[in-house]
Amino acid sequence: MAIIIDENTKVLVQGITGNQGQFHTRQMLEYGTKIVGGVSPGKGGQEVHGVPVFDTVAAALEKTDIDATIFFVPARMVKDAAFENMENGIKTIVIITEHVPVHDAIDIMAYARDKGVTIVGPNTFGLISPGKCKIGIMPNRIYKPGNVGIVARSGTLSYEIANSLSIEGIGQSTVVGLGGDRVVGLSFVDVLRRFEDDPETEGVILVGEIGGNAEEVAAEYIKQMTKPVVAFLAGRSAPPGKRMGHAGAIIERGTGTYRGKVTALEAAGAIVAELPWEVPDLLRKAMESRSGTRKVI
């Protein structure tokens, strides 16, 4: 078990003939992801690392089933590609692309909600169910199959944490990157709920950061979770009014502060690590203590 994607997920790569598309298609193939095709308008009939390229999503669907699509298309073309995939019935879309206009993201998310489509990103590193399927740009080697779910707004920080867990023998069920933009598809709650329902996941790590109120909303849900949640948040020292790399990482008008998020999470029963290297130990202890007092629903 894992959430959202597993060993059977058939993946389409939108923008497969670009540099990024080619490079990561190869990485994903090496990881064992079932890549069934790529799309690049005007390049139909070519191949990339043995993967057939189509002009349109509809053309790809004439030849194969598709469960999920990963995007390596330029920011200004993301909206068109997203609607192409949604209108063609693709139910999971992973948007790696950064700098997507937020009004486009809003339009994409509104349509996705109508059609029941799961959007990961934009500006995400993707998601991975270790040993089963990787749809993203994260390094192949740092993950290990296991029973800890990770959900993160930030890429490298979550790599670091996943790596430290793996080194300590704690494997992961699924690692999900929400994306660093102000408007993204999946929320912490969407992913936490799936982890809560996933029999394989026994503990959850939430990697958040300043800006917005995603962590505060997550805290509301964490109150009712039976599985332990350890959180680490980046941006404790960030000054207000400055965008810290991610479009979403900004303290504005007093909202999105580190302190507010920590207070909300702790009040909800989550354990907040002050420093990233504390995470594995805190999680292990939380899981051990929780397994003795597991709530029964």
């Binding site: 937020v102 809003i106 509104a110 930030s154 980046a234 941006g235 404790r236 420093l275």
Partner: protein, 370 residues
């Protein structure tokens, strides 16, 4: 990108939202001239910050002479850390009531949200929640007449003012969409006799939508010179006021690195996300920026994933050999081929570690010692 008040007002007037008569003055003489034309005026410092009134950035002048004096006092002065370079000189209007009106993004709901209040003129954060009207906008529908009627009803407006207010709401949404805005705010929206007038403007535009800005959209550079230089080479960089320069790969990683420095009692000079796949060219340029800020030490925090640590180390060695690095550098290298990387750096005399805890502690130690 934030627009100055006068820019926002230009957009308003172009879209049929009334603003007070007025013009921009860049010197005292212009301020006096405009006042001579308009009579009693308000002189507003054009800086990208709210709370200008309390900070003394807004003055009322009854005569060209007064205007000249105030303008002289304001221009060039620092207000809330920002230099006043322009003034907006506007006819003083009669104020019967003040409303608040804005359309903003609600990231959690993934929708625009209209916020309005009959208690305008102060920061919306300071208005009691029960006096605030919030109505989310379905992006697939936009704003229709009924939406405005309902907002206006809850604001307690009737008759011709209700009609004007409904019309302004439609136009604010038009501007919000047309210019890819993150925020369009009118505070206060003033009832002046029988007219509604936008007495202030705050417009934030989504930077990354630049490729489709309508013709004539003003462009404001909010970045410092260094931030702009970094931005132009694709690096996310924010200036801070400490003495430990920081480079990391990934925004979250960079933020966490700052936090760790602070944890050890140090002060970061900057935020820098040098991106995932930094090649030696990009690394050199990023280093150059860091060196130019004259820090006590440079702390580099790299988690090698797809990028291999030994390659990163070689890039640093190359920079060190070619251009030299006068400031101490502490590098944390972890992940793929970390041992090889650390060995390479050792050869050229750069301190390196495979965990950020030790590296950050070391960097703070150097900063404090120097």
């Amino acid at each position: 990108m934030k627009l100055f008040e006068y820019m926002g007002k230009e957009i308003f007037t172009r879209h049929g939202i009334d603003i007070p008569p007025g013009r921009v003055a860049c010197n005292s003489e212009e301020a006096a001239e405009i006042t001579a034309e308009l009579g009693e005026v308000v002189i507003k410092s054009q800086i990208l910050s709210g709370g200008r009134g309390k900070a003394g950035g807004i003055k009322f002048a009854k005569s060209p002479e007064e205007a000249r004096i105030y303008a002289g006092e304001l221009l060039g002065r620092d207000l809330k850390g920002l230099k006043i370079e322009k003034l907006l000189v506007e006819k003083k209007i009669r104020i019967d009531r003040e409303f608040y009106l804005s359309i903003a993004l609600d990231g959690a709901r993934k929708q625009p949200v209209l916020i309005a209040s009959a208690s305008g003129g102060m920061d919306i954060e300071d208005v009691p929640p029960d006096q605030i009207i919030k109505k989310h906008i379905d992006p697939e529908v936009g704003i229709m007449p009924h939406f405005c009627r309902e907002v206006v009803r809850r604001l307690g407006l009737t008759g011709p003012l209700a009609k004007q207010a409904a019309d302004i709401i439609m136009k604010v949404y038009l501007v919000f969409k047309k210019y890819d805005c993150e925020l369009v705010e009118i505070n206060p929206l003033v009832v002046s006799g029988e007219h509604l007038i936008a007495a202030d403007s705050k417009i934030n535009i989504d930077d990354v939508a630049y490729f489709r800005y309508p013709a004539g959209t003003p462009v404001v550079e909010e970045r410092t010179a260094l931030e702009k230089k970094a931005h132009d080479i694709g690096i996310s960089y924010v200036e801070l006021d400490g003495n430990i320069a920081v480079m990391a790969n990934g925004a979250g990683m960079a933020m966490a690195t700052l936090d760790i420095i602070q944890h050890f009692g140090g002060n970061p000079r900057n935020f820098m996300d040098a991106g995932g796949g930094a090649d030696s060219e990009a690394t050199a340029q990023a280093l150059e920026i860091l060196i130019s800020t004259k820090p006590k030490v440079i702390l580099v925090n790299i988690f090698g994933g797809i990028t291999r640590c030994d390659e990163v180390a070689r890039a640093f060695a190359k920079v060190k050999n070619s251009m030299g690095i006068q400031v101490p550098v502490v590098i944390r290298l972890s992940g793929t081929n970390e041992k090889e990387g650390i060995a390479i750096l050792k050869e050229i005399g750069i301190d390196s570690y495979n965990n950020i805890k030790e590296a950050a502690a070391k960097a703070v130690e150097i900063a404090k010692a120097g």
